[in-house]
Amino acid sequence: MAALEELEREYEKAKRDAKFQRRLDELLQTYAGRPTALSFAQRLTQKLGGAKIYLKREDLLHTGAHKINNCLGQALLVERMRKRRVIAETGAGQHGVATATVCALLGFECVVYMGTEDMQRQELNVFRMRLLGAEVRGVESGSRTLKDAINEAMRDWVTNVRTTHYLLGSVLGAHPYPTMVRDFHRVIGREARAQILKAEGKLPAAVIACVGGGSNAIGIFTEFLKDEKVRLIGVEAGGRGEGLGEHAARFRGGSPGVLQGTYSYVLQDSAGQIANTHSVSAGLDYPSIGPEHAALRDAGRAEYVPASDAEALEATTLLARTEGIIPALESAHAVAEVVKRVPKMKKSDVVLVNISGRGDKDIGILRENLRLD
């Protein structure tokens, strides 16, 4: 608790500190590559024959996903707190790579916890982290995925809390993480809203993003919350079936509970044990969801739908062949929802999709599943 309070204090101070904001903005521009482009998906729009589709290109950021926004923000806080050791969890490896990157940039010691199941399916990112100087520690417990990596990172943090910052990678965990991580990603929606107004002269009818913990989604949603006519749609991992353990659709199969310091919707059994999850995408393979998404859903401001493994894989190929963009399997879930929804919309409507990351890391899984060779 003491460390969370320290972090909250430091974050509140930093938020009001113009110098901190300037430094962060500068790194986002000159290092991460912001602002990211908004691309009109012309051929995909033609093919689906409905609303105009725009892609927010977080896949173009340094390290290949939106995760770097939050990592740079927290890394600057680590500097302010005068800590030298950073730990993180990672599922798909995108957050781990982004953390290893900012640690290399600022000279911090870096340890990344990753479930051994995820290490296998995201082998390339494991190597990238090691190349960047991070130590990757495999986690053998539980389902050997993201949830278990977070458990292990939390155990490390409570043990080494005096010297170590836990650079949590999603809008999860205890306060202030969900708020802070959201704030560092708000830049996505801020840019996208201005860009789409400039391109189309109007707001989109819908904003669509995939939701694991929910950081890229909350990052693009937040700026549109006040625009009540804009539908906000989060896409969860529908996995390979509807039974408990076959998916990670918390709003379909979950109920309120507490996991890892967060009260939210949780996939659990009747005795309150956390369920195993399945998704083809490691980044969505998590039994709980950021608490702000739960609040948005309960308030009726945002809606959440599942996309299955098969739909995500199909959407990956579709986006690759119509737009020349290979999305991360996570982001492909958002594209899968576009495929279902857009044909039913008016041609005059505009849809904004967050392409939260690029798919290079998934080549192994794609190759196995798509059998193109």
Binding site: M1, A2, A3, S141, G142, K147, D148, N151, M154, R155, V158, T159, N160, V161, R162, P256, G257, V258, L259, Q260, G261, V266, Q268, S270, A271, G272, Q273, I274
Partner: protein, 258 residues
């Protein structure tokens, strides 16, 4: 109420219920009590034990493999209570299984089973308003954990919210056996004494008679968890006997102030 600390120091024994099965847990608990344990912490296995080290993680996995749940732990508590009227019984759980059962129902069943107190590892005192009301309404003692890193204001709040005793965590980190105990524990107990008259139990990392005696010099009670669970793990088929022997060795030379 059986949460009394007549012996110096009192011994609090933790077990993960259902490891390897509930019948064994029951035998282990009764054997520990016969050998000198004063308070038993009945650990509810949880799928994601973030506060626990590898020993209790493994025990939890073993217990969950055959579906041990909170309701069964409460039934076990009632059975133990029938055989041991003067032993303190604490349910030691993560929050989610309790939420899933329902706080009211949990308190009612626990009280009825003869449970004295409850420790919820992942419920910080700052978020515990509703829980404390329910505990109070059912005459259950909420026990909170104080850590060496807790600032004075927080230590005070934890002491004020706790009933029965306060649990002082001997060092930062997760549960598990350690060779050397840090100075942290002694300092924390001193800080707690300034703000509470409640007995103070020190736990995390204590595994042998030497450490037990050392901590007993400044704490009212000593919690032994991972070392007990490890004894169970290493003695398949003779868990209860082994734990009884372990407890007797641990407490040899202890003063009885009863």
């Amino acid at each position: 109420m059986p949460l009394s600390f007549y012996k110096k120091p009192a011994l609090v024994v933790y077990v993960t219920c259902g490891d390897p099965d509930l019948a064994t847990t029951r035998a282990v608990v009764l054997s520990a009590i016969a050998a000198g344990a004063d308070v038993i912490e009945l650990g509810v296995p949880f799928s994601d034990p973030v506060a626990d080290g590898p020993v209790i993680q493994r025990a939890s996995e073993r217990a969950l493999k055959h579906g041990t749940c909170l309701a069964q732990v409460l039934t076990l508590a009632a059975e133990v209570r029938q055989h041991a009227q003067s032993t303190g019984l604490i349910v030691f759980s993560y929050l989610n299984p309790i939420l899933r059962m329902g706080m009211e129902k949990f308190c009612m069943v626990a009280r009825h089973a003869g449970v004295d107190g409850v420790l919820v590892t992942d419920l910080p005192v700052e978020e515990a308003g509703e829980y404390m009301q329910a505990m109070k309404a059912h005459d259950l003692a909420p026990v909170f954990l104080a850590a060496p890193t807790s600032p004075d204001t927080r230590v005070q709040r934890i002491a004020q919210a706790s009933r029965g005793f306060v649990y002082a965590v001997s060092r930062t980190g997760v549960t598990g056996v350690r060779q050397k105990l840090a100075d942290d524990a002694r300092k924390l107990v001193r800080r707690l004494r300034r703000v509470t008259k409640l007995p103070i139990a020190v736990g995390f990392g204590i595994s042998n008679a030497e450490q037990f005696a050392e901590v007993g010099k400044f704490a009212d009670a000593v919690v032994v968890g991972s070392a007990i669970v490890e004894t169970i793990e290493r003695n398949p088929g003779r868990e209860a006997v082994a734990v009884g022997e372990f407890v007797r060795k641990l407490t040899v030379g202890r003063l009885n102030l009863d």
